[in-house]
């Protein structure tokens, strides 16, 4: 819709010329791996399946390469006053403007193929009335870093020409613990469908004839191994070498094995946090710290919600407190639901607790796996009270604090009617007061910048 003023072209930047190659390779690399693996199986004589798969991969790789050429030709970007402008589109030209004061996060991503070529993808998420995200793929890696620093600097109110902010490492994750914790975390209800399928295979085989039994057991074991392998690989590939650092720009998260990326979360952008301990992690005192950030919600980006994959629980508590600028979660007095809540939550009502103070709202729950959720009052979106028929019969209600999409859900469940209503009103009031004194979005100009910069 916006006129594309071609006279000012010299100030626009373009993508890196190797973009098509990087795009093509990114899709084509799995093909090479696949061909290498199946090379051994060629003697088996089953060529047709292999051929079809190869053709599909090649066609896709070619299409992606062509798309890379097109985006190279049509995409250009420029930092304007307070905005990042990105023009793109071949047939319908579009011009996106991302408001830097609404910046939620800036990620530098390096999937394997672009990384080998020294390229990176820049993903920028802004929020507000119009939530938008833009991927600039691909830029030379130093260019991407510089652009991120520049945007962060401007968003912070420092003006143009900012170098990358210095950072102070906070913590990193031990690879051994990462692998073990992933295996241990598989012991949960989520794995049940896999076992269901595996037993189904064995049962079907038994039903038809017992001769197939060894094959069926092998098949079942294979299904289980594949499922475990996938989870393990996804976690290791995404969370390997996990490092988190603090800088004036916010928290900086680096991670990845084959695909590496650096996410920067500006101060005050964390909407809610959760310390979670799957059942078996409790034996080792491990915990994970997850967050909700506005603008990144879908399943594909679930690793963006991890602020600490696995660490001793004291560590997770300390990081939670640091991420919120030094709140003391322990100091918040938590209360339990009344004992009649056993009707709706038989054993686990004892482990539910909730409470709040001037800065945060805290909930705790879980009989087997334990969770602790924290939301700063100024990040509360809306608050709601809910009660079903049984809860109303025994005069209970639950208070929910609505947060942006993510793994953290804050619910003070099964509270006494009067108490629940009081909690709702108090939280609405505290959130209002917290909002009115909240630091402005340009964090370096804020009066509280000094306290946040520690």
């Amino acid at each position: 819709m916006v006129s594309t003023d071609s006279r000012t072209d010299e100030t626009f930047h373009r993508l890196h010329p190797l973009t098509p190659l990087a795009s093509g390779l990114r899709v084509g690399a799995p093909l090479l791996a696949f061909l290498a693996i199946s090379a051994g199986e060629r003697q088996a004589g089953d060529h047709s399946g292999l051929l079809t798969t190869t053709i599909i991969f090649v066609v896709v790789a070619v299409l992606v390469t062509i798309k890379g050429f097109i985006s190279l030709a049509v995409t250009r970007y420029r930092l304007e006053a307070g905005e990042l402008r990105v023009d793109s589109g071949l047939i319908t030209r579009q011009s996106k403007r991302l408001r830097l004061d609404r910046l939620q996060s800036v990620d530098v991503r390096q999937p394997l193929a672009p990384r080998l070529l020294g390229l990176a993808e820049l993903r920028i998420v802004t929020a507000g009335a119009a939530r938008e995200s833009v991927h600039l793929s691909y830029l030379a890696e130093p260019v991407a870093r510089q652009l991120r620093a520049e945007m962060m600097g401007r968003a912070a109110g420092l003006g143009p020409g900012v170098a990358e902010a210095p950072e102070q490492p906070l913590t990193s994750v031990d690879p051994g613990i990462l692998i073990w914790s992933t295996v241990l975390s598989l012991v949960s209800w989520r794995i049940a469908p896999v076992f269901f399928v595996a037993f189904g295979i064995i049962a079907t085989a038994l039903h038809h004839s017992s001769e197939n039994l060894p094959g069926a057991i092998a098949g079942a074991v294979f299904v289980i191994l594949v499922a475990i392998g996938q989870v393990l690989w996804a976690r290791i590939n995404n969370l390997w070498n996990f490092k988190i650092a603090q800088s004036p720009d916010g928290l900086r998260v680096r991670r990845g094995l084959l695909n590496t990326q650096t996410n920067t979360i500006p101060p005050g952008r964390i909407q809610a946090l959760r310390i979670h301990q799957p059942l078996l992690w409790r034996l080792f005192g491990w915990a994970t710290l997850q967050i909700n950030i506005a603008g990144s919600g879908d399943r594909r980006q679930r690793f963006d919600h991890i602020l600490l994959p696995v660490a001793p629980i004291e560590h997770a508590r300390w990081l939670l407190s640091t991420a919120l600028g030094g709140v003391n979660v322990e100091a918040v007095e938590l209360t339990r639901p009344p004992s009649r809540a056993w009707v709706v939550a038989p054993l686990w009502w004892r482990y539910m607790a909730a409470g709040s103070d001037d800065r945060i709202f805290v909930t705790r729950h879980g009989l087997f796996s334990r969770s602790l959720e924290v939301v700063p009052n100024e990040r509360t979106q809306s608050v709601h009270l809910h009660a079903g028929p049984i809860a109303r019969w025994i005069r209970l209600a639950s208070v929910h604090l609505d947060s942006t999409r993510g793994p953290v859900r804050i619910r003070a469940r099964h509270r006494d009617n009067g108490e629940a209503r009081k909690m709702l009103d108090t939280q609405a009031d505290r959130a209002r007061r917290a909002r009115s004194v909240a630091s402005p979005s340009r964090w370096m100009q804020s009066p509280s910048a000094t306290s946040q910069g520690q």
């Binding site: 939530r131 709601h384 809910h386 005069r395 947060s403 942006t404 209503r421 959130a431 909002r435 402005p440």
Partner: protein
């Protein structure tokens, strides 16, 4: 309805604004039509087997309609909203009760929606969006002019209270 400690009562000094009875009328009409069509088809299908089947169908159909009318009435009565200085409160649901508090400063969009049947009855749904997908703040069954005014008030207050995320 109002017990000693009704957690879903209107805040002190305010009253729930009720929604238009047209919402109830629309839902009752819809249910009645659906039941008549289904029962009619079933009764016609059963008619060759004798008079007992169709009679049972008709009786069950009538009971279903009567029950639905009561349920719809209860649900309609459960809807309410009130505008406070800093936030909007919406209450709804007879069996599963929900009370939402949406601060004006957190509202990102206010939508007016009306499907074809709602338009026929002249009612509108006002929907509030915040940055949270779990904010379920809708007010059903408003008259179009009320909805329009409500939206304008909400929009101007949202601007006055605008906060970052």
């Amino acid at each position: 309805m109002s017990g000693t400690a009704d957690a879903f009562a209107a805040p002190p000094g305010t009253q729930w604004q009720r929604v238009s009875p047209k919402l109830r009328a629309m839902r009752r009409a819809l249910v009645t039509i659906v039941v008549i069509v289904c029962a009619g088809a079933l009764a016609a299908g059963l008619s060759p087997t004798g008079p007992v089947g169709p009679i049972v169908v008709v009786v069950v159909g009538l009971l279903a309609v009567a029950w639905a009318w009561v349920v719809i009435d209860r649900n309609w009565r459960s809807w309410g909203y009130t505008e406070r200085q800093d936030d909007l409160l919406v209450v709804h649901g007879a069996l599963f009760r929900t009370l939402v508090v949406v601060p004006y400063g957190r509202m990102q969009l206010v939508d007016l929606e009306a499907g074809p049947i709602e338009r026929l009855y002249g009612i509108v749904t006002v929907k509030l969006h915040t940055a949270s997908a779990s904010t379920d703040a809708r007010i059903r069954g408003l008259l179009p002019e009320d909805a329009q005014h409500l939206r304008e008030r909400l929009a101007s207050r949202g601007e006055a209270h605008a906060a970052g995320l």
